[in-house]
């Protein structure tokens, strides 16, 4: 396979992996939460933000990243973590609150840190952007050509931190790419009800940086633009902003009744599900069915092993709560 074919297969496999991951989260999350849905119960308590539908953003960007490139993600981090190569066993164990989790169960699903691949995320909207600028500068000042990527939602583009971080990145010519996953909702509030502009990409003008808009949740198109922006950063030309039109196939968090969605919206979005669409395109482009199936199978196996690992892993001792407040 050509390197481009390899990359496309990698993107496909990682979308499948991410989706399968969420597919296994779903029943696990609902364990102990029925008949009465109570977030506190079951093996995975707390809020759970799934990324179904947003996989193209993660793979399109991460296809261009190395281990030493830094990613900061959001409260909806699974697809990005998986595409960045976070240790999936430890990540799953973390989500289950187990000792073998990335943070020994201290962080949970909104706080996944894997320094081996320079991934982290935060649950406070837009607050990962400053750290990404800093990480980019740490690389630049040390003479490395590593870059940083900060993911955010379109809702986060109205938070002050967005403005400050993009301006600072531009002033410092930091090798960082800001990626807006525009799923058109911030919880229940639609983008058009809270955002003064139709396209966040135009906001790049305020920071004298390139602003890209990618429509249709298309992994290839995302990857193309991402390649450009990441090259630009790696070459020392400075930051960029990428806005990706994507879709949230699930509720904001699990248990969200989604009363704010127009009738039929989810069905329409599901018809545009990027994973079967991309599969069909790959086949049309000459990929072998068997290769896709084997990639799918591998992806699923990895996820299933991760869930087994997590489930079999033990809980931390209660006293471990006191560890690692300081390093």
């Amino acid at each position: 396979m050509s390197s481009n074919e390899n990359k496309r297969l990698w993107m496909y496999a990682n979308m499948v992996k991410s989706r399968h991951f969420e597919d296994l989260i779903k029943p696990a999350y609902f364990e102990g939460k029925s008949p009465v849905f109570n977030m506190a119960k079951g093996p995975i308590p707390g809020e759970m933000h799934l990324s179904d539908g947003q996989e193209p953003c993660a793979v399109g960007i991460c296809a261009h990243l190395r281990e030493d490139d830094v990613v900061t993600a959001t409260h909806r981090p699974h697809h990005i973590a998986i595409a960045k190569g976070v240790d999936i066993n430890a990540m799953t164990a973390e989500i289950f609150g187990k000792k073998g989790g990335l943070a020994g169960g201290r962080g949970g699903h909104m706080h996944l840190f894997d320094p081996a691949v320079n991934f982290s995320c935060s649950g406070i909207i837009a607050q990962g952007l400053g750290p990404a600028v800093g990480a980019a500068m740490a690389a630049k000042l040390s003479g490395s050509d590593a870059v940083a990527v900060a993911f955010l939602g379109e809702g986060a583009a109205n938070q002050g931190a967005f403005h400050e971080a993009l301006n600072l990145a531009s002033v410092w010519k930091a090798p960082v790419v800001f990626v807006i996953e525009d799923n058109s909702y911030g919880i229940s509030v639609s983008k058009s009800d809270c955002t003064a502009v139709e396209r966040n990409a135009v906001r790049a003008i305020s920071y004298d940086m390139p602003g890209h808009h990618v429509a249709k949740n298309d992994p290839d198109a995302i990857s193309e633009i991402a390649g450009e922006a990441i090259r630009y950063a790696r070459n020392g030309q400075g930051p960029s902003l990428i806005e990706i039109e994507t879709s949230r196939l699930e509720g904001h968090f699990m248990g969200d009744p989604e009363g704010y969605r127009p009738d039929g919206e989810v069905d329409r979005l599901r018809e545009l599900d990027p994973i079967p669409k991309y599969r069909a395109r790959l086949l049309a482009d000459g990929f072998e069915e068997a290769d896709l199936e084997s990639a799918e199978q591998d992806a699923r196996n990895i996820v299933e092993r991760a869930f087994s690992f997590a489930r079999e892993n033990q809980y931390p001792e209660p006293e471990e709560a006191y560890d690692h407040v300081f390093v």
């Binding site: 009465v36 849905f37 109570n38 977030m39 506190a40 119960k41 995975i44 308590p45 707390g46 809020e47 973390e94 609150g97 187990k98 989790g101 020994g104 169960g105 201290r106 962080g107 949970g108 699903h109 909104m110 706080h111 935060s122 649950g123 406070i124 909207i125 837009a126 607050q127 809702g155 986060a156 109205n158 938070q159 002050g160 931190a161 911030g186 919880i187 229940s188 509030v189 009800d193 809270c194 955002t195 248990g255 009363g259 704010y260 809980y315 931390p316 209660p318 006293e319 471990e320 709560a321 006191y322 407040v325």
Partner: protein, 349 residues
């Protein structure tokens, strides 16, 4: 499963409300009375508030008075300050108190100081309602309490109900107050099905207009042996512990602070003067917290004589851990209270 841990069952009486419903009801009734009230916040419109604080109000009052905002806490809380100066009475929701870090200036440097900086000429009648507390696995950025953080800074009143009755009455007081009031509501008491709710928070709640005064603590159980001071969720833990302690013939007096600032020191001191023993329980971080303030307030007066050193239970000085085995280990509960009281009873001077 402890008794406080039951899923909500159908309220027996018609007016048994959850705190969420009591808050919405108070706000709705007051919005009918007073057209200067406006609601601002994330998801408080069509969705009715992530924690049910504004259920039905968008439909009832429309989008001019119930306004979903961008995720721009600095701007919309700042806007509330400007509205309040301009004669309106904004009620703003900060979805989780944990997010104060993105907007505290608008709260403590603008809202809280507007009266002082204007020599009392410009008031700031706004209510900032915000959810607090953990216990349901939402981890370190969505489970904090920060009572003392807000209580420490002057110019704001800070209240937190432990039940629906008080929620309605405190909300009406808060809205009518011409000063900024931080209205904290505890997720473990809110009565959102999906969060689980301590049953004692669901109480008979009059349909009428009534207020619970700001600045007045409530003795929710009388007793002669030890004073348990709590607020929000820990009031219920205290009551549960008191029931168990009664079996051992220890009569605990349980005080529900209801207001964090201004603190009702008098009620506490009177109680401790009677019982001679003080245990403060809160689920905020321990150091520089509610427990310290209550203990110091008692000790500096020389109230007593105390029969044993005053004690406090709180969340330790660690970020709130995600894993339930860790989180429940560090959170205060009835059992820890019971044990603390038992050892205080032994530890006579």
């Amino acid at each position: 499963m402890s008794s406080s841990d039951k899923p909500i069952s159908a309220p027996p009486a018609e007016r048994r409300l959850t705190i969420a419903k009591a808050m919405s009801e108070a706000i709705g009734q007051e919005m009918e009375r007073d057209s200067s009230i406006i609601l601002l916040g994330e998801d408080i419109g069509r969705m009715g508030g992530v924690f049910g604080t504004t259920t039905g109000l968008f439909d009832q009052f429309g989008k001019d008075r119930v306004k979903d905002t961008p995720i721009s806490e600095t701007a919309f809380i700042g806007a509330a300050v400007g509205m309040a100066a301009g004669g309106m009475r904004p009620i703003v929701e900060l979805m989780f108190v944990d997010f104060f870090g993105v907007c505290m200036d608008a709260i403590y440097n603008l809202a809280a100081k507007q009266s002082y900086f204007s020599g009392g000429k410009v008031s700031c009648p706004m209510v900032l309602m915000t959810s607090v507390g953990g216990g349901y696995g939402d981890a370190g950025q969505h489970s904090q309490c920060l009572y003392a953080t807000f209580g420490h800074l002057p110019g704001m009143k800070v209240v937190m109900p432990s039940n629906a009755h008080d929620a309605k009455g405190l909300m009406l007081s808060a809205i009518r107050d011409d000063n900024p009031v931080i209205f904290m509501f505890h997720k473990a008491l809110q009565g959102m099905g999906w969060l689980g709710t301590i049953a004692g928070s669901i109480t008979d709640t009059p349909d009428d207009d009534y207020v619970v005064p700001i600045g007045k603590a409530n003795i929710v159980r009388e007793g002669r042996d030890v004073t348990l001071v709590g607020l929000g969720a820990t009031v219920h833990h205290g009551l549960e512990a008191a029931t168990r302690l009664a079996d051992a013939s220890i009569e605990a007096e349980v005080i529900d602070l209801r207001t964090i600032a201004p603190l009702d020191r008098q009620t506490i001191i009177q109680s401790v003067s009677k019982t001679g023993r003080l245990l403060v329980v809160d689920d905020d971080y321990l150091s520089f917290g509610v427990g310290a303030e209550v203990i110091a307030s008692v000790c500096e007066t020389g109230a007593g004589p105390l029969k044993c050193p005053p004690q406090r239970i709180a969340h330790p000085d660690i970020p709130i851990p995600f894993s339930p085995v860790l989180e429940h280990f560090v959170l205060p509960d009835a059992k820890k209270i019971e044990q603390a009281v038992l050892s205080m009873m032994k530890d006579e001077k």
